[in-house]
């Protein structure tokens, strides 16, 4: 798969229109890698001139910051900003709402000012600019529910972009009882992804999966690699893997367009 790096392009004297920030999950997690590849296929179809940092990309420091380690966060941020500014990056797109939030809101104060898109916003823009179409026949008739990632929804009030894309798939979208600003977290945020849950009587991802299953969906759509993991685990816990699948919106679009 052709994924150019900033270093490659710079050697050729070229500047891409957008940097794809892959994030740690999108780079290393087997499930999330599929999302990265699906998104790249979409970028190729829309003839987007993009690049990644590749081995020069490092953790945004989001998880460290939420865990309370401001030192580590700022070290990571400043190293990344040095690289990004060195390549004169102006526009960034990412499939990870946590990277999206950190790059968009927390990097500017440390000298990293970029136009940052979540991939659902970016795809929406590609459609609006006439560069991409979504085939509304492939997934027609499927029942989909959308789980709002906290760092996309409440944190940055992006509720419509993912829903707009889902509707364009020709599927029927059923909202959970808790959605948009009142959506329930999947349980991964605030660095919880990397630790065991504190003592309680239930796992958060199971509770959220129950919200989703109540809509009787064929597909639970998400826009976050961590939510994806949590919901997938929830489906396994509920032994519903045969009936319900968890997919990122980028994967659904790639599937719809037979990419």
């Amino acid at each position: 798969m052709n994924v150019p790096t900033m270093a490659d392009l710079m050697a050729q004297g070229k500047q891409p229109e957008v940097l794809f920030w892959v994030g740690a999950a999108g780079s290393y997690d087997d499930r999330a890698k599929k999302i990265s590849r699906a998104f790249v296929k979409i970028l190729h179809q829309a003839n987007v001139n993009f690049a990644v940092l590749g081995t020069e990309e490092s953790s945004t420091g989001d998880a460290a910051k939420r865990a309370g380690n401001e030192f580590l966060f700022q070290m990571q941020a400043m190293m990344n900003i040095e690289v990004l500014n060195g390549y004169e990056v102006k526009t960034i797109v990412t499939c990870d709402p946590h990277s999206f939030n950190t790059l968009k809101n927390e990097y500017p104060g440390l000298g990293g000012v970029y136009k940052v898109y979540h991939h659902t916003q970016f795809i929406q823009k590609l459609i609006a600019d006439g560069r991409l179409n979504i085939d509304a026949t492939t997934l027609k008739g499927k029942k989909v529910t959308f789980h709002d990632p906290c760092y996309l929804g409440r944190a940055n009030e992006v509720y419509e972009s993912p829903r707009d894309l889902i509707r364009r798939l020709g599927v029927s979208l059923t909202e959970m009882k808790r959605s948009k600003s009142s959506a329930l977290c999947c349980g991964a945020g605030g660095a919880q992804m990397f630790k065991d849950a504190e003592k309680g009587d239930k796992e958060i991802n199971v509770l959220r999966t129950e919200d989703a299953l109540a809509t009787k969906p064929n597909i639970i759509a998400t826009g976050c690699p961590y939510c994806n993991t949590m919901m997938t685990d929830g489906i396994k816990f509920k032994e519903k893997e045969k009936e319900v699948i968890v997919k990122d919106i980028a994967e659904l679009i790639a599937e719809a367009n037979n990419l």
Binding site: V3, S27, R66, N69, L72, M75, E198
Partner: protein, 439 residues
């Protein structure tokens, strides 16, 4: 002289009631100012708009329609019926009776009092439903652990106060013979008046005066109750929404004190053996994060005083919903309790805080609560007056991690990985682009 005794007693009651309240409010200001400085004077227009929409306009209350609707009735009643207090104060000071009746058109006066009476009845009904919700219905957010004891009785006390004040207002009107005879502005009290038919005019007058006095004294006592109660929100909701954070909810603050040190660490020209500049050695290094109330900023402390313990935050918290120790409401209640303890300590020690060996962390809020948070912002979103419990949780995590190195073991591993491999997992950074060629 004897003729003026009621006026003098009234003036004394008024001065005592307001004076005592002012003394306590000054303590409240002093306590809030113990917090660190944070600039919230920007964007005045947006701040004003938030205050008008959210506090004055109750826009977030109605997200839960039933309690929101009932609350608006009580709130509107409070705002509008209190116009009557102005007349009561003038009457009390000058020995007049219903002075506005003579000043403004009688029909207008009747309309006003009539409106107050209707509102008083609606408030009575709403308060009764509130009481039933708190005490009879099985509403989980009123039954949480932190709502046992004083918080529960505080909530009920407020309702009893309001029930009594509304009753006194209506009885006062019902037993006012000339007011009933005029028959203007008594849409509710006219139905109470028949209960008093058997009383002599003197007895009626005594009942009317007693209700009048108890009503105004009750208001003064209630005013002073605020300082000790969660009910402070009726005043503080306004500044609280005005000074609330305007940035996206996902944006956490970047600590300036950390930025300075990180820049120094990353500066290749920095001399690690450089002598500190003159005078610099006396400066105490700034504490990272918060372990006690004075480490929080003044808006966070204002938040704590504003919280009316409705529990909408806790009822939407994913950690709390799944049985974890964390309750965002408890974070706010603990912060206020500790702040008041610090304030009492200062009162007892001539205005200077004497170390009591306690702090907000551990003595009030346990690390287990802090580590249960997913930083999902549901509590911040839900709060009808824009309180931000998440910012306090974050500041306390910062203290745990940066001052005490007391993160849970798995998080320490995650952070080590970020430091060494640029990812929260132990992968080689050189493999970061492998995903592109794996299909």
């Amino acid at each position: 002289m004897q003729h003026y005794i009621p006026n003098i007693l009234f003036a004394i009651a008024l001065i005592l009631g307001i004076g005592f309240f002012v003394i306590n409010i000054r303590k409240l200001f002093r306590n809030i100012k113990l917090g660190k400085d944070v600039n919230r004077t920007d964007n005045k227009k947006e701040r004003l708009k938030n205050m008008m929409m959210i506090a004055f306009g109750q826009s977030k209350m109605v997200k839960r329609p039933l309690s929101g609707f009932l609350h608006i009735i009580v709130y509107a009643g409070f705002l509008i019926i209190n116009i009557e207090v102005l007349e009561i104060i003038i009457d009390g000071l000058f020995g007049t009776h219903r002075i506005f009746k003579g000043i403004i058109n009688e029909n207008v006066y009747g309309f006003l009092i009539g409106t107050f009476e209707v509102l008083a009845l609606l408030v009575f009904v709403a308060i009764t439903i509130f009481w039933l919700r708190r005490n009879i219905s099985n509403i989980k957010r009123f039954l949480s652990k932190e709502m046992k004891g004083w918080p529960k009785s505080d909530g009920n006390n407020i309702l009893y106060f309001e029930l009594i004040l509304m009753t006194l207002f209506l009885v006062m009107n019902a037993t006012d013979v000339s007011f009933q005879q005029a028959g203007i502005g008594n849409p509710i009290s006219q139905f109470l008046a028949p209960f008093f038919n058997d009383y002599s005019p003197e007895a009626l007058h005594t009942i009317e005066r007693t209700a009048w006095w108890l009503h105004i004294l009750g208001i003064l006592v209630f005013l002073n109750y605020l300082y000790y109660s969660k009910h402070l929100h009726i005043l503080l909701a306004f500044p609280n929404t005005y000074f609330a954070n305007l940035n996206p909810k996902g944006q956490f603050t970047n600590l300036d004190s950390v930025t300075k040190e990180v820049k120094l660490m990353m500066d290749p020209d920095a001399d690690p053996y450089a002598m500190p500049e003159e005078g610099a050695e006396e400066a105490v290094p700034e504490k990272f994060g918060a372990s006690d109330v004075a480490d929080l900023n003044w808006v966070q402390l204002l938040n704590a005083y504003t919280c009316t313990e409705c529990g909408r935050c806790t009822s939407s918290c994913p950690a709390n919903l799944t049985g974890k120790e964390l309750s965002p409401r408890k974070i706010m209640m603990d912060t206020r309790d500790r702040l008041e303890e610090v304030g009492r300590n200062m009162d007892a020690n001539k205005g200077i805080f004497v170390d009591d060996g306690k702090q907000l962390l551990n003595d009030y809020i346990k690390p287990e609560e802090l580590w249960a948070c997913t930083s999902c912002n549901a509590c911040v979103e839900e709060c009808p007056v824009n309180i931000d419990p998440l910012s306090i949780i974050t500041d306390m995590r910062r203290y745990l991690v940066m001052e005490e190195s007391a993160a849970p073991q798995e998080l320490n591993m995650m952070m080590t990985n970020v430091e060494n491999n640029g990812a929260p997992w132990q992968y080689n950074q050189q493999d970061r682009l492998n995903w592109a060629n794996e299909e």
